[in-house]
Protein backbone atom coordinates (compact mmCIF):
# COMPACT_ATOMS: atom_id res chain seq x y z
CA UNK A 1 0.00 0.00 0.00
CA UNK A 2 1.21 3.50 -0.79
CA UNK A 3 2.10 5.70 2.14
CA UNK A 4 -1.07 7.59 3.07
CA UNK A 5 0.63 10.65 4.45
CA UNK A 6 2.90 11.03 1.40
CA UNK A 7 -0.04 10.59 -0.96
CA UNK A 8 -2.00 13.28 0.86
CA UNK A 9 1.00 15.61 0.84
CA UNK A 10 1.35 15.19 -2.91
CA UNK A 11 -2.41 15.60 -3.36
CA UNK A 12 -2.40 18.74 -1.28
CA UNK A 13 0.54 20.14 -3.24
CA UNK A 14 -1.22 19.28 -6.54
CA UNK A 15 -4.40 21.05 -5.39
CA UNK A 16 -2.55 24.21 -4.34
CA UNK A 17 -0.30 24.39 -7.41
CA UNK A 18 -3.30 23.55 -9.62
CA UNK A 19 -5.27 26.39 -8.07
CA UNK A 20 -2.27 28.68 -8.65
CA UNK A 21 -2.14 27.60 -12.32
CA UNK A 22 -5.88 28.17 -12.84
CA UNK A 23 -5.84 31.50 -11.00
CA UNK A 24 -2.92 32.56 -13.18
CA UNK A 25 -4.74 31.56 -16.38
CA UNK A 26 -7.99 33.40 -15.50
CA UNK A 27 -6.01 35.68 -14.68
CA UNK A 28 -7.05 37.16 -11.36
CA UNK A 29 -4.50 39.94 -11.79
CA UNK A 30 -2.09 41.10 -14.47
CA UNK A 31 0.61 40.56 -11.84
CA UNK A 32 -0.28 36.94 -11.19
CA UNK A 33 1.62 34.56 -13.50
CA UNK A 34 0.68 30.90 -13.73
CA UNK A 35 2.50 28.21 -11.81
CA UNK A 36 4.09 26.82 -14.98
CA UNK A 37 5.32 30.24 -16.11
CA UNK A 38 6.92 30.80 -12.72
CA UNK A 39 8.52 27.37 -12.72
CA UNK A 40 9.94 27.86 -16.20
CA UNK A 41 11.35 31.20 -15.08
CA UNK A 42 12.93 29.37 -12.14
CA UNK A 43 14.34 26.75 -14.52
CA UNK A 44 15.74 29.48 -16.76
CA UNK A 45 17.44 31.21 -13.83
CA UNK A 46 18.80 27.91 -12.65
CA UNK A 47 20.28 27.05 -16.03
CA UNK A 48 21.83 30.44 -16.72
CA UNK A 49 23.27 30.31 -13.20
CA UNK A 50 21.93 33.69 -12.11
CA UNK A 51 20.08 32.15 -9.17
CA UNK A 52 23.28 30.66 -7.77
CA UNK A 53 25.04 34.02 -7.94
CA UNK A 54 22.06 35.56 -6.16
CA UNK A 55 22.04 32.94 -3.43
CA UNK A 56 25.76 33.37 -2.93
CA UNK A 57 25.05 36.99 -2.03
CA UNK A 58 21.93 36.30 0.03
CA UNK A 59 23.29 33.41 2.02
CA UNK A 60 26.54 34.95 3.20
CA UNK A 61 24.98 37.48 5.66
CA UNK A 62 22.45 34.83 6.58
CA UNK A 63 25.05 32.16 7.30
CA UNK A 64 27.31 34.52 9.25
CA UNK A 65 24.39 35.97 11.20
CA UNK A 66 22.86 32.59 12.01
CA UNK A 67 26.24 31.17 13.04
CA UNK A 68 26.88 34.10 15.39
CA UNK A 69 23.34 33.91 16.76
CA UNK A 70 23.57 30.16 17.33
CA UNK A 71 26.91 30.21 19.14
CA UNK A 72 26.31 33.35 21.19
CA UNK A 73 22.62 32.57 21.66
CA UNK A 74 23.05 29.02 22.95
CA UNK A 75 25.93 30.14 25.15
CA UNK A 76 23.95 33.00 26.64
CA UNK A 77 20.89 30.78 26.96
CA UNK A 78 22.79 28.11 28.89
CA UNK A 79 24.24 30.71 31.20
CA UNK A 80 20.87 32.37 31.77
CA UNK A 81 19.25 29.00 32.41
CA UNK A 82 21.89 27.96 34.91
CA UNK A 83 22.35 31.15 36.90
CA UNK A 84 19.47 33.04 38.53
CA UNK A 85 21.64 36.13 38.89
CA UNK A 86 22.57 36.16 35.23
CA UNK A 87 18.98 35.51 34.28
CA UNK A 88 17.80 38.51 36.27
CA UNK A 89 20.36 40.71 34.57
CA UNK A 90 20.21 39.57 30.95
CA UNK A 91 16.94 37.76 30.26
CA UNK A 92 14.92 41.03 30.10
CA UNK A 93 17.18 42.32 27.33
CA UNK A 94 16.20 39.38 25.14
CA UNK A 95 12.55 39.66 26.15
CA UNK A 96 12.66 43.26 24.92
CA UNK A 97 14.44 42.22 21.72
CA UNK A 98 11.80 39.55 21.20
CA UNK A 99 8.83 41.85 21.80
CA UNK A 100 9.89 45.14 20.23
CA UNK A 101 9.68 45.44 16.43
CA UNK A 102 13.40 45.83 15.93
CA UNK A 103 13.01 45.92 12.16
CA UNK A 104 12.56 49.64 12.79
CA UNK A 105 16.26 49.81 13.66
CA UNK A 106 17.30 49.08 10.07
CA UNK A 107 17.57 52.77 9.05
CA UNK A 108 19.86 53.44 12.03
CA UNK A 109 21.96 50.35 11.36
CA UNK A 110 22.45 51.59 7.82
CA UNK A 111 23.61 54.96 9.14
CA UNK A 112 26.04 53.38 11.57
CA UNK A 113 27.40 50.48 9.55
CA UNK A 114 26.67 51.53 5.99
CA UNK A 115 24.88 49.46 3.40
CA UNK A 116 27.34 46.59 3.39
CA UNK A 117 27.55 43.13 4.85
CA UNK A 118 27.83 44.29 8.48
CA UNK A 119 24.39 45.88 8.53
CA UNK A 120 22.81 42.79 7.00
CA UNK A 121 24.52 40.46 9.46
CA UNK A 122 23.25 42.72 12.25
CA UNK A 123 19.68 42.51 10.97
CA UNK A 124 19.88 38.71 10.85
CA UNK A 125 21.32 38.61 14.38
CA UNK A 126 18.73 40.86 16.02
CA UNK A 127 15.97 38.81 14.42
CA UNK A 128 17.44 35.36 15.17
CA UNK A 129 19.18 35.70 18.52
CA UNK A 130 16.38 36.40 21.06
CA UNK A 131 14.35 33.29 20.36
CA UNK A 132 17.47 31.09 20.49
CA UNK A 133 18.51 32.56 23.84
CA UNK A 134 15.07 32.41 25.42
CA UNK A 135 14.37 28.86 24.22
CA UNK A 136 17.72 27.57 25.41
CA UNK A 137 17.28 29.18 28.82
CA UNK A 138 13.77 27.77 29.20
CA UNK A 139 14.99 24.34 28.10
CA UNK A 140 17.73 24.35 30.72
CA UNK A 141 15.32 25.43 33.45
CA UNK A 142 12.84 22.73 32.41
CA UNK A 143 15.27 19.83 32.79
CA UNK A 144 13.29 17.23 34.77
CA UNK A 145 14.28 17.65 38.42
CA UNK A 146 14.20 13.90 39.01
CA UNK A 147 16.91 13.31 36.39
CA UNK A 148 19.21 15.85 38.03
CA UNK A 149 18.45 14.30 41.41
CA UNK A 150 19.21 10.86 40.04
CA UNK A 151 22.56 12.02 38.70
CA UNK A 152 23.38 13.68 42.03
CA UNK A 153 22.52 10.54 43.95
CA UNK A 154 24.88 8.58 41.69
CA UNK A 155 27.64 11.08 42.48
CA UNK A 156 27.71 13.12 39.26
CA UNK A 157 29.82 16.27 39.40
CA UNK A 158 28.43 19.59 38.19
CA UNK A 159 30.03 19.42 34.75
CA UNK A 160 28.79 15.85 34.33
CA UNK A 161 25.24 16.95 35.16
CA UNK A 162 25.57 19.68 32.52
CA UNK A 163 26.94 17.42 29.78
CA UNK A 164 25.15 14.17 30.52
CA UNK A 165 21.78 15.37 31.82
CA UNK A 166 20.96 19.01 31.13
CA UNK A 167 22.26 19.30 27.56
CA UNK A 168 20.68 16.12 26.18
CA UNK A 169 17.43 16.82 28.03
CA UNK A 170 17.36 20.38 26.73
CA UNK A 171 18.39 19.54 23.18
CA UNK A 172 14.89 19.21 21.65
CA UNK A 173 13.91 22.66 22.87
CA UNK A 174 17.28 24.14 21.94
CA UNK A 175 16.81 22.78 18.43
CA UNK A 176 13.27 24.16 18.34
CA UNK A 177 14.73 27.56 19.25
CA UNK A 178 17.40 27.14 16.60
CA UNK A 179 14.76 26.39 13.96
CA UNK A 180 12.73 29.44 14.98
CA UNK A 181 15.93 31.50 15.00
CA UNK A 182 16.95 30.34 11.53
CA UNK A 183 13.51 31.11 10.17
CA UNK A 184 13.62 34.58 11.76
CA UNK A 185 17.11 34.94 10.28
CA UNK A 186 15.72 34.25 6.80
CA UNK A 187 13.09 36.94 7.41
CA UNK A 188 15.86 39.32 8.45
CA UNK A 189 18.09 38.48 5.48
CA UNK A 190 15.32 39.09 2.94
CA UNK A 191 14.16 42.19 4.80
CA UNK A 192 17.64 43.66 4.69
CA UNK A 193 17.93 42.94 0.95
CA UNK A 194 14.60 44.60 0.28
CA UNK A 195 15.19 47.53 2.61
CA UNK A 196 18.94 48.24 2.71
CA UNK A 197 20.38 47.43 -0.70
CA UNK A 198 18.92 45.13 -3.29
CA UNK A 199 21.40 42.27 -3.62
CA UNK A 200 20.99 38.57 -4.21
CA UNK A 201 17.46 37.21 -4.18
CA UNK A 202 16.12 40.55 -2.97
CA UNK A 203 17.61 42.12 -6.09
CA UNK A 204 15.90 39.59 -8.39
CA UNK A 205 12.60 40.29 -6.63
CA UNK A 206 12.95 44.07 -6.76
CA UNK A 207 14.38 44.23 -10.27
CA UNK A 208 11.90 41.85 -11.89
CA UNK A 209 9.07 43.72 -10.20
CA UNK A 210 10.31 47.01 -11.64
CA UNK A 211 10.38 45.61 -15.18
CA UNK A 212 7.09 43.72 -14.62
CA UNK A 213 8.76 40.33 -15.18
CA UNK A 214 6.40 38.72 -12.71
CA UNK A 215 7.25 35.05 -13.42
CA UNK A 216 10.87 35.70 -12.39
CA UNK A 217 9.74 37.53 -9.27
CA UNK A 218 7.47 34.67 -8.20
CA UNK A 219 10.17 32.15 -9.05
CA UNK A 220 12.68 33.92 -6.81
CA UNK A 221 10.20 34.08 -3.92
CA UNK A 222 9.22 30.45 -4.45
CA UNK A 223 12.86 29.39 -4.38
CA UNK A 224 13.73 31.29 -1.18
CA UNK A 225 10.74 29.81 0.66
CA UNK A 226 11.66 26.36 -0.63
CA UNK A 227 15.24 26.86 0.50
CA UNK A 228 14.17 27.97 3.98
CA UNK A 229 11.87 24.97 4.38
CA UNK A 230 14.49 22.53 3.08
CA UNK A 231 17.14 23.95 5.39
CA UNK A 232 14.85 23.71 8.42
CA UNK A 233 13.99 20.11 7.55
CA UNK A 234 17.70 19.39 7.31
CA UNK A 235 18.12 20.83 10.80
CA UNK A 236 15.33 18.55 12.04
CA UNK A 237 17.03 15.53 10.47
CA UNK A 238 20.33 16.51 12.06
CA UNK A 239 18.61 16.66 15.44
CA UNK A 240 17.14 13.19 14.99
CA UNK A 241 20.54 11.79 14.09
CA UNK A 242 22.29 13.48 17.02
CA UNK A 243 19.72 12.58 19.68
CA UNK A 244 18.18 9.33 18.57
CA UNK A 245 16.15 8.34 21.62
CA UNK A 246 15.03 11.85 22.34
CA UNK A 247 12.37 12.46 19.76
CA UNK A 248 9.74 10.46 21.54
CA UNK A 249 9.48 12.62 24.61
CA UNK A 250 10.19 11.88 28.20
CA UNK A 251 9.67 8.64 29.99
CA UNK A 252 8.77 9.69 33.46
CA UNK A 253 5.17 8.64 33.93
Amino acid sequence: MIDRSLTLKLLSAAVVFGAWEIAGRVPISYAFPTFLESMSALARMTFDGSIFVAYGQTLSPLAIGVAISAVVGIGMGLWIGLSARFEWLFAPIFVVMQTAPLAALIPILVMVYGIGLTSKVFVVCIMAMPVIVLNTAAAVRNTPASLKEMATSYLARDHEILWKIILPAASPMIFAGLRLGVSAGFIGAILSELKITPTGVGDIITFSRSIADYPSMYAAIFSIILLAVLFLNLLGTLENILFKGNNRGYVTD
Binding site: S146, S153, Y154, A156, E160, K244, R248, T252, D253
Partner: protein
Protein backbone atom coordinates in the same frame (compact mmCIF):
# COMPACT_ATOMS: atom_id res chain seq x y z
CA UNK B 1 11.29 -14.60 66.36
CA UNK B 2 13.90 -11.89 65.81
CA UNK B 3 14.99 -9.86 68.78
CA UNK B 4 16.49 -6.40 69.20
CA UNK B 5 19.51 -5.96 66.94
CA UNK B 6 22.96 -5.30 68.43
CA UNK B 7 24.36 -1.81 67.75
CA UNK B 8 27.13 -2.82 65.33
CA UNK B 9 24.54 -4.43 63.13
CA UNK B 10 22.86 -1.13 62.42
CA UNK B 11 23.63 -0.11 58.83
CA UNK B 12 21.86 3.26 58.80
CA UNK B 13 21.04 5.32 61.81
CA UNK B 14 18.88 8.45 61.85
CA UNK B 15 19.54 10.62 64.93
CA UNK B 16 17.21 13.47 65.98
CA UNK B 17 16.67 14.66 62.42
CA UNK B 18 14.47 17.72 61.86
CA UNK B 19 13.53 19.29 58.55
CA UNK B 20 11.36 22.29 57.77
CA UNK B 21 10.15 23.67 54.45
CA UNK B 22 9.46 27.32 55.17
CA UNK B 23 6.92 27.20 58.01
CA UNK B 24 6.00 23.57 57.46
CA UNK B 25 7.64 21.06 59.78
CA UNK B 26 8.29 18.02 57.60
CA UNK B 27 10.27 16.03 60.18
CA UNK B 28 10.65 16.68 63.87
CA UNK B 29 13.37 15.16 66.02
CA UNK B 30 13.12 11.82 64.29
CA UNK B 31 15.28 8.90 65.42
CA UNK B 32 15.28 5.53 63.70
CA UNK B 33 17.66 2.60 63.15
CA UNK B 34 17.89 0.38 60.07
CA UNK B 35 19.34 -3.11 60.71
CA UNK B 36 21.97 -4.40 58.29
CA UNK B 37 20.90 -6.88 55.65
CA UNK B 38 17.21 -6.32 56.30
CA UNK B 39 14.40 -4.47 54.63
CA UNK B 40 12.81 -1.64 56.58
CA UNK B 41 9.65 0.02 55.31
CA UNK B 42 8.72 3.60 55.99
CA UNK B 43 4.93 3.59 56.01
CA UNK B 44 2.50 6.37 56.64
CA UNK B 45 -0.22 8.59 55.24
CA UNK B 46 0.69 11.10 52.53
CA UNK B 47 2.43 14.15 53.95
CA UNK B 48 4.10 12.27 56.79
CA UNK B 49 7.57 13.03 55.43
CA UNK B 50 8.62 9.51 54.44
CA UNK B 51 10.04 10.53 51.06
CA UNK B 52 11.69 13.55 52.71
CA UNK B 53 13.39 11.23 55.20
CA UNK B 54 14.56 8.93 52.40
CA UNK B 55 16.01 11.85 50.43
CA UNK B 56 17.79 13.11 53.55
CA UNK B 57 19.33 9.66 54.03
CA UNK B 58 20.34 9.70 50.35
CA UNK B 59 22.00 13.07 50.88
CA UNK B 60 19.77 14.72 48.27
CA UNK B 61 18.22 17.01 50.87
CA UNK B 62 20.02 18.58 53.82
CA UNK B 63 18.52 18.17 57.28
CA UNK B 64 18.06 21.27 59.44
CA UNK B 65 19.42 19.47 62.47
CA UNK B 66 20.35 15.97 63.55
CA UNK B 67 22.61 13.38 62.01
CA UNK B 68 22.53 10.48 59.58
CA UNK B 69 25.07 7.70 60.10
CA UNK B 70 25.78 5.09 57.44
CA UNK B 71 28.10 2.40 58.78
CA UNK B 72 29.04 4.82 61.54
CA UNK B 73 30.00 7.58 59.08
CA UNK B 74 28.09 10.88 59.06
CA UNK B 75 26.32 11.56 55.79
CA UNK B 76 27.12 14.93 54.18
CA UNK B 77 25.83 14.24 50.67
CA UNK B 78 25.26 11.43 48.21
CA UNK B 79 27.85 8.68 48.53
CA UNK B 80 28.90 5.40 46.92
CA UNK B 81 27.50 3.48 49.89
CA UNK B 82 23.90 4.29 48.93
CA UNK B 83 21.91 3.84 45.71
CA UNK B 84 18.50 5.32 45.00
CA UNK B 85 15.54 3.87 43.08
CA UNK B 86 13.15 6.59 41.96
CA UNK B 87 9.38 6.62 42.01
CA UNK B 88 9.26 8.02 38.44
CA UNK B 89 12.20 5.77 37.37
CA UNK B 90 14.35 8.78 36.33
CA UNK B 91 15.69 7.03 33.24
CA UNK B 92 17.54 9.00 30.57
CA UNK B 93 15.11 9.00 27.61
CA UNK B 94 17.98 9.42 25.14
CA UNK B 95 20.01 6.50 26.45
CA UNK B 96 19.64 2.77 25.81
CA UNK B 97 18.82 0.33 28.60
CA UNK B 98 22.45 -0.69 28.95
CA UNK B 99 23.70 2.90 29.17
CA UNK B 100 20.99 3.69 31.72
CA UNK B 101 21.96 0.70 33.86
CA UNK B 102 25.64 1.53 33.55
CA UNK B 103 25.09 5.23 34.22
CA UNK B 104 26.06 5.08 37.90
CA UNK B 105 29.28 3.29 36.96
CA UNK B 106 29.89 5.73 34.09
CA UNK B 107 29.82 8.55 36.63
CA UNK B 108 32.33 6.66 38.75
CA UNK B 109 34.72 6.64 35.82
CA UNK B 110 34.73 2.94 34.93
CA UNK B 111 35.89 2.04 31.43
CA UNK B 112 33.11 1.32 28.98
CA UNK B 113 33.75 -2.40 28.51
CA UNK B 114 34.07 -2.91 32.25
CA UNK B 115 30.87 -1.09 33.19
CA UNK B 116 28.88 -2.68 30.39
CA UNK B 117 29.93 -6.14 31.53
CA UNK B 118 28.64 -5.36 35.03
CA UNK B 119 25.47 -3.77 33.63
CA UNK B 120 24.78 -6.82 31.48
CA UNK B 121 24.99 -9.05 34.53
CA UNK B 122 22.39 -7.03 36.40
CA UNK B 123 20.17 -6.63 33.33
CA UNK B 124 20.06 -10.45 33.23
CA UNK B 125 19.44 -10.57 36.95
CA UNK B 126 16.35 -8.34 36.78
CA UNK B 127 15.09 -10.35 33.80
CA UNK B 128 15.67 -7.88 30.97
CA UNK B 129 18.19 -9.88 28.93
CA UNK B 130 17.74 -9.06 25.24
CA UNK B 131 16.52 -5.52 25.90
CA UNK B 132 19.99 -3.96 26.26
CA UNK B 133 19.77 -1.82 23.13
CA UNK B 134 16.16 -0.69 23.62
CA UNK B 135 15.21 2.82 24.69
CA UNK B 136 13.05 3.47 27.78
CA UNK B 137 10.04 4.54 25.70
CA UNK B 138 10.03 1.08 24.12
CA UNK B 139 9.55 -0.62 27.51
CA UNK B 140 6.50 -1.07 29.72
CA UNK B 141 6.30 0.70 33.08
CA UNK B 142 7.31 -2.43 34.97
CA UNK B 143 10.30 -3.03 32.72
CA UNK B 144 11.40 0.58 33.14
CA UNK B 145 11.47 0.18 36.89
CA UNK B 146 13.52 -3.02 36.47
CA UNK B 147 16.04 -0.85 34.62
CA UNK B 148 16.03 1.56 37.57
CA UNK B 149 16.56 -1.34 39.94
CA UNK B 150 19.39 -2.79 37.87
CA UNK B 151 21.07 0.63 37.84
CA UNK B 152 20.89 0.79 41.64
CA UNK B 153 22.22 -2.77 42.01
CA UNK B 154 25.08 -2.30 39.56
CA UNK B 155 26.88 0.30 41.66
CA UNK B 156 27.09 -2.31 44.42
CA UNK B 157 26.08 0.03 47.23
CA UNK B 158 25.53 -1.39 50.70
CA UNK B 159 22.26 0.48 51.17
CA UNK B 160 19.43 0.59 48.65
CA UNK B 161 16.93 3.41 49.00
CA UNK B 162 13.61 2.73 47.25
CA UNK B 163 11.12 5.60 46.96
CA UNK B 164 7.68 4.07 46.27
CA UNK B 165 9.31 2.10 43.48
CA UNK B 166 6.23 0.09 42.54
CA UNK B 167 3.59 2.81 42.80
CA UNK B 168 3.64 3.53 39.07
CA UNK B 169 3.25 -0.10 37.93
CA UNK B 170 0.10 -2.18 37.76
CA UNK B 171 -1.08 -4.52 40.52
CA UNK B 172 0.05 -7.80 38.96
CA UNK B 173 3.48 -6.48 38.05
CA UNK B 174 3.73 -5.09 41.56
CA UNK B 175 3.06 -8.52 43.11
CA UNK B 176 5.80 -10.03 40.97
CA UNK B 177 8.12 -7.21 42.00
CA UNK B 178 7.36 -7.82 45.67
CA UNK B 179 8.21 -11.50 45.36
CA UNK B 180 11.41 -10.65 43.48
CA UNK B 181 12.28 -8.10 46.15
CA UNK B 182 12.04 -10.76 48.87
CA UNK B 183 14.45 -12.93 46.88
CA UNK B 184 16.78 -9.98 46.44
CA UNK B 185 16.85 -9.16 50.16
CA UNK B 186 17.63 -12.78 50.90
CA UNK B 187 20.53 -13.10 48.43
CA UNK B 188 22.06 -9.65 48.09
CA UNK B 189 23.00 -9.07 51.74
CA UNK B 190 22.18 -5.40 51.37
CA UNK B 191 20.21 -3.04 53.57
CA UNK B 192 16.96 -1.92 51.98
CA UNK B 193 15.01 1.19 52.96
CA UNK B 194 11.64 1.10 51.30
CA UNK B 195 9.08 3.89 51.20
CA UNK B 196 5.51 2.87 50.44
CA UNK B 197 1.97 3.96 51.10
CA UNK B 198 0.54 0.46 50.73
CA UNK B 199 0.00 -1.29 54.06
CA UNK B 200 -0.16 -4.77 52.49
CA UNK B 201 3.02 -4.14 50.53
CA UNK B 202 4.89 -2.96 53.62
CA UNK B 203 3.84 -5.95 55.69
CA UNK B 204 4.54 -8.35 52.84
CA UNK B 205 8.10 -7.31 52.08
CA UNK B 206 9.46 -5.95 55.38
CA UNK B 207 11.59 -7.28 58.16
CA UNK B 208 10.77 -4.12 60.05
CA UNK B 209 8.03 -1.54 59.51
CA UNK B 210 8.33 2.01 60.80
CA UNK B 211 4.95 3.72 61.00
CA UNK B 212 5.31 7.49 60.56
CA UNK B 213 2.53 9.86 61.53
CA UNK B 214 2.18 13.43 60.29
CA UNK B 215 1.80 16.86 61.92
CA UNK B 216 4.36 16.86 63.40
CA UNK B 217 6.06 13.93 61.68
CA UNK B 218 7.29 11.30 64.08
CA UNK B 219 7.84 7.56 64.39
CA UNK B 220 4.63 6.20 65.84
CA UNK B 221 5.52 2.54 66.10
CA UNK B 222 8.05 -0.01 64.90
CA UNK B 223 6.67 -3.41 64.00
CA UNK B 224 8.83 -6.49 63.45
CA UNK B 225 6.83 -9.36 61.95
CA UNK B 226 8.14 -12.64 63.35
CA UNK B 227 7.28 -15.93 61.78
CA UNK B 228 5.46 -15.75 58.43
CA UNK B 229 8.48 -14.75 56.34
CA UNK B 230 9.89 -18.29 56.31
CA UNK B 231 6.70 -20.00 55.23
CA UNK B 232 7.22 -19.22 51.54
CA UNK B 233 5.88 -16.42 49.34
CA UNK B 234 2.63 -18.25 48.61
CA UNK B 235 1.58 -18.47 52.23
CA UNK B 236 2.36 -14.98 53.51
CA UNK B 237 -0.90 -13.33 52.49
CA UNK B 238 -3.06 -15.81 54.39
CA UNK B 239 -0.96 -16.03 57.51
CA UNK B 240 -2.95 -14.89 60.61
CA UNK B 241 -0.08 -12.73 61.83
CA UNK B 242 0.15 -10.99 58.45
CA UNK B 243 -3.56 -10.24 58.52
CA UNK B 244 -3.45 -9.04 62.13
CA UNK B 245 -0.56 -6.67 61.42
CA UNK B 246 -2.30 -5.24 58.34
CA UNK B 247 -5.48 -4.65 60.37
CA UNK B 248 -3.56 -3.17 63.27
CA UNK B 249 -1.69 -0.70 61.06
CA UNK B 250 -4.91 0.37 59.38
CA UNK B 251 -6.50 0.94 62.78
CA UNK B 252 -3.73 3.31 63.78
CA UNK B 253 -3.53 5.13 60.43
CA UNK B 254 -7.26 5.41 59.75
CA UNK B 255 -7.80 8.69 61.57
CA UNK B 256 -4.96 10.39 59.67
CA UNK B 257 -6.28 9.73 56.17
CA UNK B 258 -8.09 12.64 54.60
Amino acid sequence: MRHAVPADDIAVSVRNVSKTYGDVQALKDLTLDFPRGQLTSLLGPSGCGKTTLLKIIAGLLPANSGQILVNGQTVAGPGPDRAFVFQDFALLPWATVIRNVAFGLELRGLARSEREAIAEKYIREVGLAGFEQKYPHQLSGGMRQRVGLARALSVNAQVLLLDEPFSAVDEQTRRKFQEDLLELVKHEKKTFIFVTHSIEEAVYVSDQIAILLPRPSRVHEIIRPSNFRDKGVDNIRRDPEYLDIVDGIWASLRSYVE
